[in-house]
């Protein structure tokens, strides 16, 4: 599902507009499978699956595959609807330089939840 994140984000003109000041690379960790996602001016310009020897990114979101799969359901159950819900339950860790993430929180929440749209199809 993560491989589709670029086309899902870029197809949403309003989401791209909201992220127009975002220029960073972040990482998603599903168990020990890593993916780097490069964002420029709100558009996802590169999605690179690992493994990596020395990955360079600003922040990483780590959770198990089971948690991500629940999170990416079109209508997740209570407790799995939001990144902060997972963090509070210690089911997800957000690590690294959190400035781009927190400064564009509404944008990143929608980017990271974008695979739900694919699941809904």
């Amino acid at each position: 599902m993560i491989d589709k994140i670029g086309s899902l984000v870029n197809a949403d003109a309003n989401l791209v507009r909201r992220g127009r000041f975002v220029d960073t690379t972040f990482m998603i960790a599903i168990d020990d499978a890593y993916t780097l996602i490069r964002v420029q001016e709100g558009r996802v310009i590169e999605v690179t699956p690992g493994p990596f020897i020395t990955p360079d990114y600003s922040f990483v979101l780590r959770a198990s595959r089971t948690v991500w799969e629940k999170f990416w359901q079109p209508l997740p159950p209570p407790g799995f609807t939001d990144i902060f819900a997972l963090v509070k339950q210690k089911l997800m860790r957000v690590e690294g330089d959190l400035h781009p993430f927190m400064a564009n929180l509404l944008y990143f929440k929608d980017v990271i939840a974008a695979p739900r749209k694919e699941a809904a199809r």
Binding site: P78, T81, A85, M102, A103, L106
Partner: protein, 281 residues
């Protein structure tokens, strides 16, 4: 659309609050038993717009909501620029009692959400005789910090954007888009550091876990309503209060942390039976 006014009136109330002069914005609608509504951290009394526009509520209740000092259209006290805003349990209880007195409310019902849902527990313990009944929306005896709240007030992060971002996931997924974004807009409009200052009460000072057992619901009836999607004040936390106090608790399907604002119609369907019970007291 034909232009129309809502039945809500808003006025500015001057009063001494916490021993200092204050200018508070107060809204109300309806007639009957006074129902004093307490908004969530970092927001304002607009959260109760749905209640104040619902004749099923306002036909029997005088619904009153004030913007806390620093919030909405209320001013911070003079000299605010020289101190960091931090809400405490002591000040919050006093504020509610002093506002109720200033408005000459006779044994009002107090209904609060989130921080308001917490403070009604303090009211239940400290001054139950002053209230006809208490309604806790999204009540938990304590919430541990689950993110670094310093992100909410720093010059290199837009405060309105980050505050709305932090709370956005607390709204139930099926909430109507208009009400969801209205709810977030209120957060986007909050002054710098106000949400963070409220969270001092919510995550630190307002911890009432060790005193919940002291609440006697026969001195003042307490009703608890919590949205199933609320991960900040969880259903489990509310049910724990219910178990320890004997207060009835309802877990509201399809609602989150801001029931009265994110989906007023659905929330009122849960609230009406509670209001009926209160009318019959």
């Amino acid at each position: 659309m034909n232009p129309r006014f809502e039945p809500i009136t808003g006025r500015y109330l001057h009063l001494d609050l916490l021993d200092r002069p204050h200018r508070l914005y107060v809204e109300e609608a309806g007639v009957g038993i006074p129902l004093l509504c307490l908004h969530t951290a970092g927001s304002d009394a607009r959260q109760f717009r749905g209640l104040m526009n619902d004749p099923r509520v306002t036909s029997g209740f005088r619904v009153i909501a004030f913007d806390m000092p620093w919030h909405g259209k209320s001013s911070p006290p003079a000299g605010w620029q020289d101190a960091e805003y931090e809400l405490t349990s002591r000040d919050y209880v006093r504020m509610i009692v002093e506002v109720a007195d200033a408005l000459a409310l006779d044994k009002p019902v107090a209904m609060g959400c989130s921080i308001g849902g917490r403070i009604v527990l303090h009211l239940a313990r400290e001054c139950p005789e002053r209230f006809r009944a208490l309604i806790g929306l999204e009540s938990a005896a304590h919430t541990d910090p689950y993110y670094d709240v310093s992100w909410l007030n720093r010059p290199d992060v837009h405060g309105g954007q980050v505050c709305a971002g932090v709370v956005s996931g607390l709204i139930a997924p099926a909430a109507p888009a208009t009400e969801r974004w209205e709810t977030l807009w209120h957060y986007m409009q909050s002054g710098p550091g106000v949400f963070k200052g409220d969270l001092h009460f919510y995550m630190i000072d307002g911890d009432i876990r060790d005193r919940v057992d002291d609440i006697e619901i026969d001195r003042c009836p307490l009703f608890l309503l919590t949205g199933e999607y609320d991960y900040s004040c969880t259903s489990e936390a509310t049910l724990d209060i219910a178990k320890r106090t004997g207060a009835p608790a309802i877990i509201m399907k399809g609602l989150g942390h801001f029931p009265m604002s994110e989906d007023p119609e659905k929330f009122v369907s849960y609230l009406l039976p509670v209001l009926e019970e209160i009318r019959a007291l």
